[in-house]
Symmetry: C2
Subunit: 335 residues, 2 copies
């Protein structure tokens, strides 16, 4: 292994000078710098980052914990994060929690071990107190998910109002018996979207039949199964707001399997606008989150925290969009 001392010897200077050349300190005479550069090239020298990191006590690495890396929603956010990271000379250490809270929490030790300069969490299922304490000592930013009433720096959309918007769209199409398949209620976005649904219904004077609200798991299968449940009801819903796109697709598949047409017999709104939402048939009407932007914004915030800069605020709500495609239709009056 080539060390800085080898370069120094070959160039006939001290290691300090070599280091100065590498870090572009500017106080080195031109000729000397050239000698050093030449030696570096000749020896094919690359600085040992471990040594540098130890000395500077910074790793230029950040840890990103995702709930599920195979979910394209999160990998899209991750891409936004990485783009800003790379731009700023940072690398991304990936923690895939595989939807398991324990494994999510276990990644947090990495910060204390100084293997990363900061943490981005795309999931907020760990004990809130643990995270808030961690955030006292290290740069931490949440994205997508968040804790209610916490001051942790967070980037997300307003899930409540988006869910309201989605529901209101169905209401505007004359639907009254609207069902909701929510995400898991122990996950904040599942809860918030459910809340938004109820708010919209209440605001328009529509009562919510409790049997038309079911808790899913954000999976295609749960969407399918719960829709089957709805369809076996005396009077099934004419419209459905699903907590995410996977469940929306599952629900539509279920409806089709029972001979219903979507959107003619059932209108469905999803959430997230994952890649396949537009390929699916019918193309999904859904709430699009600005995944890439969220990732970028999150990483920029983290950089500020790492540099010890003041944040102008701690909660960043990014705008989302209801994307109208083909999965909803106005209810013609015949009920």
């Amino acid at each position: 292994m080539v060390r800085i001392a080898d370069v120094a010897k070959m160039a006939n200077v001290s290691t300090a000078t070599v280091s100065r050349v590498i870090s572009n300190a500017g106080t080195v005479k031109k000729e000397t710098a050239e000698k050093v550069l030449e030696a570096i090239k000749k020896l094919n020298y690359q600085p040992n980052m471990l040594a540098r990191q130890l000395r500077r006590s910074e790793t230029k690495t950040i840890l990103v914990v995702v709930p599920d890396i195979t979910n394209t929603f999160f990998s899209a956010v991750l891409r936004g994060i990485e783009s800003v990271a790379i731009e700023n000379g940072y690398q991304v250490l990936l923690g895939d929690a595989r939807n398991d809270v324990e494994s999510e929490t276990s990644f947090l030790t990495i910060l204390g071990q100084k293997k990363a300069d900061g943490l981005i969490l795309l999931t907020a299922r760990t004990n809130q107190k643990i995270l808030e304490d961690l955030s006292e000592d290290y740069p931490v930013v949440l994205a997508c998910e968040y804790y209610e009433g916490s001051k942790l720096p967070t980037v997300s959309i307003d899930n409540v109002s988006s869910a309201r918007k989605a529901t209101e769209y169905l209401i505007s199409l004359n639907h009254k018996r609207i069902g909701h398949i929510s995400g898991p209620l122990n996950i904040v976005v599942g809860r918030d979207r459910c809340r938004g649904f109820h708010q919209a219904m209440a605001q328009h004077g529509l009562s919510v039949d409790p049997s038309l609200v079911q808790e899913g798991e954000f999976s295609f299968e749960s969407g399918f199964n719960l829709m089957m449940k709805f369809l076996s009801l005396e009077s099934p819903p004419t419209a459905l707001f699903a907590g995410n796109d996977e469940m929306a697709m599952g629900a539509i598949k279920a409806a089709k399997s029972k001979g219903l047409r979507v959107p003619e017999d059932l209108s469905v709104v999803g959430f997230d606008d994952i890649q396949f939402a537009s390929i699916f048939e019918p193309a999904l009407t859904t709430v699009a989150q600005p995944t890439f932007d969220m990732g970028q914004k999150t990483m920029r915030l983290l950089l500020k925290l790492i540099k010890d800069e003041e944040l102008e605020k701690y909660q960043f709500i990014l705008p989302d969009t209801l994307i109208v495609r083909e999965s909803c239709k106005e209810l013609t009056i015949e009920e």
Copy 2:
């Protein structure tokens, strides 16, 4: 920051002893160890990994370079890799090349900088020589993609024979005018699948109309566009083998847009069996790669290389499966 010296002082021992307790060296008296453990707990001490890594010159981190993290095929492989990594105390540094060769190559410096103990590449688009040289000095394993005639350790399926299998399936359904939308031919799996297609056709005495073979980009859009091209032909194909599922779906969408039914008027086979393949309508008949297994196998190989163990062989071909769903149908004789 709590250092090992702080623990040593509190426990009234030397840093060497503390270190021995931490690493379970076994040569420490029980009482002493308890004293140390207590101090560690009281001070909430966590060893600084940078220091340890520098001293031991190992990072317990591996670098995984993926061509596109938002592609569920690769994230599924990645999950396999990570599962074995975590199990063995390794962490994953993620390099998302975003389908850009330059950025792919730029990640390779990380090894020389000692920020990772080994490298897994899910893409083989970097200059082959560069990689082979790198592999002389560091543990490197390729997965999914590979170099032709290279001895680099590789885990993959046999794309040629799988493509042959897929094509033969169409032939067995009586199809004769079979089209192929290939992946990019500068990517080895694109090339190999194309090769397999031609082999199968030749072996069954079927000629390949050159206008029925087009080079796509592994994207939904390219599948759509190239199928449109086929459909505007005097005599379009009755069956299609697509280089991956995204292109298969794009092609089907194109066929549908022209009023064709799949599989009645057009049979389609895809490749990869991504998540959405079974949800898509018609559910895709496709070649399933053992993504998770490939990831695991790859990581196990890398671990062997890191530990300087001998590999029994360098090329590992894992079995794939043709999954028959609903996108193909026997051609009834009327042509």
